[in-house]
Symmetry: C2
Subunit: 316 residues, 2 copies
Amino acid sequence: MRSVCVIGLGLIGGSVLRAAAAAGRVTWGATASRADADAARQDGHDVVDLPEALDRARVRDALVVVAVPLPAVEEVLRALPEGVRLTDVVSVKGPVVDLVRRVAPHARYVGGHPMAGSSSSGWAAGRADLFEDAAWVVTAEDDADPDVLVDVIKLALAAKAHVVPTAAPEHDAAVARISHLPHLMAAVLASVGADGGPLALSLAAGSFGDGTRVAGSRPELVRAMCEGNRGALLEAVDDALGRLGAARGSLASTGGLAKTIDAGHAARVALDNRSARTDLTMDLTAPDALRALRDLGARGGRIVALDGSTALARTP
Amino acid sequence: MRSVCVIGLGLIGGSVLRAAAAAGRVTWGATASRADADAARQDGHDVVDLPEALDRARVRDALVVVAVPLPAVEEVLRALPEGVRLTDVVSVKGPVVDLVRRVAPHARYVGGHPMAGSSSSGWAAGRADLFEDAAWVVTAEDDADPDVLVDVIKLALAAKAHVVPTAAPEHDAAVARISHLPHLMAAVLASVGADGGPLALSLAAGSFGDGTRVAGSRPELVRAMCEGNRGALLEAVDDALGRLGAARGSLASTGGLAKTIDAGHAARVALDNRSARTDLTMDLTAPDALRALRDLGARGGRIVALDGSTALARTP
């Protein structure tokens, strides 16, 4: 079982370290946060400084997991040993791919993004079971190192997540729509409600509470996440502006909202009725394995287990 | 204790009938739905046809509660006995006020809107405790009949709701922002997510699930609610379009979203931290009582009890 070195021990990095340790891996970590380092040590984890963590990764041929915020990624990449096995858990993939190409082209990099979290942050908010049944995106680009791809898939499965293989641009476009835009629209809705004054807030119930919930997340984290995915988020915002504008026009002219409301209802029902129906196996050593993996992700499929080089996948 | 006659025995009307009966009132109802009538009778309630229900209301000087969808209100109003005590539970107030003025100007009308519900509908979905701790809007216009105003306040309190006094236009503007716009934005968000295809839906988690939840509500009910509040909803949509457009511009030009995200966060935190802090009493027979009531609602206050003609209110 491959050793795991986690750089950054906040909510996600701290949970990866705990999950890997719970799965029986040899683990250690490093963090720039004294508070997170102390708390992780208190919980019995091995926390060292960055150079030592990365040197151990070289000696043990470990998988290095970069779990720092996007603005801090470059500094970690510059310190990497030659040819290291590398993944990350940053919520946007294109900018990380670009950074790796520019700063650490020697690294054997396969990107990752576990789709789990909470509005809390720091080591104390982490849990070994944070990723249970969650989607863990793995970028299966054509230039991906097959060994490291398997390392990352195994780590995600060890954390009890399901692996969603895709490419970086597809990932960024998808999360713009289902994570970054929802945060932006929650912020807009919260402000429009507040513009209604105390009467409006005093009448706010289910729909407003649900629609604004994530506006309560730490604004600096939401900003970093959304701003880091600028191009894809702009496309999603334009789609939303177009649809909301069309609804506005229809309400103003004919008074009707059927098209908007019916389309939204159909989309939500489709989301609720999604279920993994078909099991299939995939040989990860097949010549077209990377393309087949990306196709699986594009169809909404997930890898749920790995037996040697044979992946068990489920598609809707 | 004033008798209560409920016309329309769906989710809300059925819950009003149950809550009034549970509070010891003499109650009866009527409904155009054979299924709801049968189900209500099976549960031991007194269901008669519309003419008989309204004639009993005349004989007993009961409070008539109109709990039919907006398009069916006019027909009920046309059948009302002269000078009847009248309220309603329709989710928009301006159009009902207009209808009463036009069709039943003789009625002693005070509008109402209990802010409770679920995505289910019909008698079977109702509950005696549906309104517990919910806001029950009561329109305290200058021409409101003081006796009927007290009747409606007492009914709301008997159902364990809190009374939020306001005027019809203020109510409609507030619910456009905190109920109708959230439904519209949930529909837009659900469609934008679905546009991302199976990969996007397979990655959808907390923020998308929360932000699209009410898009699962019955589309014909959502349409009726939103389309019935056209003017106020257009203003709220324009506010949302303006804010989302500004965010788009800022993201495209400077790459920053601080203004949008920070404002949304502050609004959501204000919502979470709202708490009823100050208790005060109000004399409902005072000469300026109606204005004082509307001021209370505008400040986010609620009436939580009534002792004779003295209301106990709480403000944030």
